[in-house]
């Protein structure tokens, strides 16, 4: 690999051991992936802080102890703890301490403590064409697809190495030619009204994840609509869970796809995958486990993290059920960032949610912080990502629904079958 004089100096240890160690890993990775050179980045988002494991702490502690310091503005994804409220949540000190140590080390190297898997909804919104190094699969899909920023699906640990060196291997989605749509997915026409619920977009995302293989997909045939940030968040999160989608194009919607031809950079593939409506319905239905029956033990919202707008919508929906509270049997969680939680508090939404009986979890994730009861059998969610991972990670059955269905389950402790909107 061709390295600049600056990079060669860093590799020799001119910037200290941490930069040497981080750049060694980046160069080895670049060589394995066939990168001709490294390139600079302007921002990093760290997912490596998420896992509570001894090796996760070993890694960042080594960088912190050896003078590691981020060279570009760097935000942090979720961590295995609500850093302010873990004691009130009944989390043991044994479980908390490794996460606290991991958090401390990431702050020591200069990361900004945002602790969110949806940084693009507030913490840092990258610009069209900006080269960044982001971890967290849903954030990668959103940054590339919805914002037109450029990042690979940066592996945990490569993200912090990129932040410390300001460099990444120049491969994959940093290169214009690799952002070309190579798989056309044509949806059967559907009414605009069928796309109002973010859950509809989660089902579409699951289908896109499955149909894309290792290709960059362009989706054709959506009605003339302007999807919200939350809808696109659910789409990307589901696509990146069901498949390896780091970039998708929605013809007429996302910035690199004003039309199919542009998304394909003028080289439109002849082959088209036609998706009839029944495949969308099946994708929705298959997000629920076949065995998802009985009382609802948990309702999970905020996967990815709940946004300001979602707080508004949920508070308004709860107001439609005066006097109603969460069913005695059911745990209801919202996962969000401390920043969004603070906004919801200022706007008076938090009080409505807490009076209703919802438990707010900041900084973290249902799969990293054990708040769902271990004996839970049935979980209801409006997230395609959560529905994908929950059966394996939490050993629960899942019922996939929209926000209204989640609210119904919260109040009655029973699942409500919501028909897919197509």
């Amino acid at each position: 690999m061709e390295l600049s004089a600056r990079e060669r100096d860093m590799l020799k240890g001119g910037d200290g051991e941490a930069a040497h160690f981080a750049l060694s890993i980046i160069v080895r990775t670049g060589e394995a992936l066939g990168a001709p050179r490294l390139r600079s980045i302007e921002h990093a988002h760290i997912d490596a802080c998420a896992l509570r494991s001894p090796s996760s702490l070993d890694f960042i502690q080594y960088l912190a102890d050896n003078g590691g310091r981020v060279r570009v503005p760097t935000t942090t994804s979720m961590i295995s703890l609500d850093l302010e409220h873990w004691e009130a949540l009944g989390i043991s000190r044994d479980l908390a301490e490794p996460s606290l140590a991991i958090a401390k080390a990431y702050l020591q190297v200069g990361c900004r403590p945002t602790w969110t898997c949806a940084p693009y909804q507030g913490a840092f919104v990258p610009q069209l064409g900006q080269a960044i190094a982001w971890g967290e699969s849903n954030a990668v899909a959103y940054a590339n697809s919805v914002l037109g920023a450029r990042t690979n699906r940066t592996a945990d640990y490569l993200d912090i190495c990129a932040a410390i060196t300001g460099r990444v291997p120049e491969v994959g989605l940093y290169l214009t030619e690799n952002r070309r749509a190579t798989r056309r997915i044509q949806l059967e026409p559907t009414p605009a009204s069928s796309w109002t619920s973010p859950a509809a977009w989660g089902a579409l995302g699951t289908l896109i994840g499955r149909l894309s293989d290792e290709q960059v997909p362009v989706i054709e045939g959506l009605p003339d609509i302007a999807p919200t940030s939350d809808q696109l968040k659910m789409l990307g999160a589901a696509a990146a869970s069901a498949g390896s989608v780091g970039l998708f194009h929605l013809a007429g919607i996302t910035p690199e796809a004003p039309d199919v031809e542009s998304a394909c950079q003028g080289d439109v593939p002849e082959a088209v995958l036609h998706v009839p409506c029944h495949q969308l319905r099946e994708a929705w239905d298959e997000l629920s486990s076949p065995t998802a029956t009985g009382d609802v033990d948990a309702v999970v919202l905020g996967c990815p993290h709940f946004s300001d707008r979602e707080f508004e919508l949920l508070a308004a929906a709860i107001r439609q059920h005066p006097g109603a509270t969460v069913h005695a049997h059911t745990q209801v969680f919202i996962f969000t960032s401390a920043a969004a939680s603070e906004t919801a508090r200022r706007n008076g939404q938090l009080k409505i949610l807490e009076d209703f009986g919802i438990t707010l979890i900041r900084d973290s994730c249902p799969f990293y912080l054990p708040v769902v009861r271990p004996d839970a059998r049935l979980l209801v969610t409006n997230s395609g990502k959560c529905a994908y991972y929950a059966p394996g990670e939490l050993k629960v059955g899942v019922h996939y629904s929209d926000l209204e269905g989640c609210l119904h389950a919260a109040i009655t402790g029973q699942r409500q079958d919501v028909d897919p909107p197509w």
């Binding site: 160690f21 060694s24 890993i25 080895r28 990775t29 394995a32 992936l33 066939g34 997912d47 490596a48 998420a50 896992l51 494991s53 001894p54 090796s55 996760s56 070993d58 890694f59 080594y62 971890g135 967290e136 699969s137 990668v140 690979n152 699906r153 940066t154 592996a155 945990d156 640990y157 490569l158 993200d159 994959g172 994840g209 293989d213 290792e214 990146a240 869970s241 069901a242 498949g243 390896s244 486990s289 799969f367 994908y388 991972y389 059966p391 394996g392 990670e393």
Partner: protein, 143 residues
């Protein structure tokens, strides 16, 4: 039978029984880090343990924390003996490179052609070995 890899992502020798997967896998959310067992309920090899196997996947998918899970599996000595994919697997590759830098432990990751991938038989005994300057896969004939 010998198979020539299309790319060597991480070199090194290995020997083990093939765990042939039809589906791609996200190690985070897909494998229990405490046991090495596949827990993705939608995966064709759910319930199987990847420890010491030659894990053959069409590709990696899903979470970018796959590298952190692989690093921790290597630390706990629960990792596969080697990983074979059709498409390059940058997240898994990074996990092994970090394990090498941090703990001096590694495992080979190779890509092979789609045709070769489908000729492999589940549970057959494979060697990853060097012949001259080239790494190759050798299928042990069963007696």
């Amino acid at each position: 039978m010998r198979i020539e890899p299309t790319h060597i992502l991480v070199p090194g020798p290995a020997r083990g029984r093939l765990l042939q997967c039809r589906h791609s896998l996200s190690l985070w959310g897909g494998v229990d880090v405490a046991t090495g067992v596949i827990i993705d309920q939608r995966h064709d090899r759910r319930g199987d343990c990847i420890t010491d196997r030659i894990l053959a996947l069409p590709s990696e998918k899903g979470s970018s924390t796959g590298s952190a899970i692989l690093l921790e599996l290597i630390r706990r000595r629960l990792a596969p003996a080697a990983i074979l994919t059709i498409h390059r697997a940058p997240i898994l590759t990074l996990g092994v490179i970090v394990a090498d830098e941090l703990y001096g432990r590694t495992l080979p990751i190779l890509t092979i052609s789609e045709h070769d991938f489908h000729t492999l038989e589940d549970n057959s005994m494979l060697h990853v070995m060097k012949r001259g300057v080239k790494w190759e896969l050798l299928l042990e004939t069963q007696n």
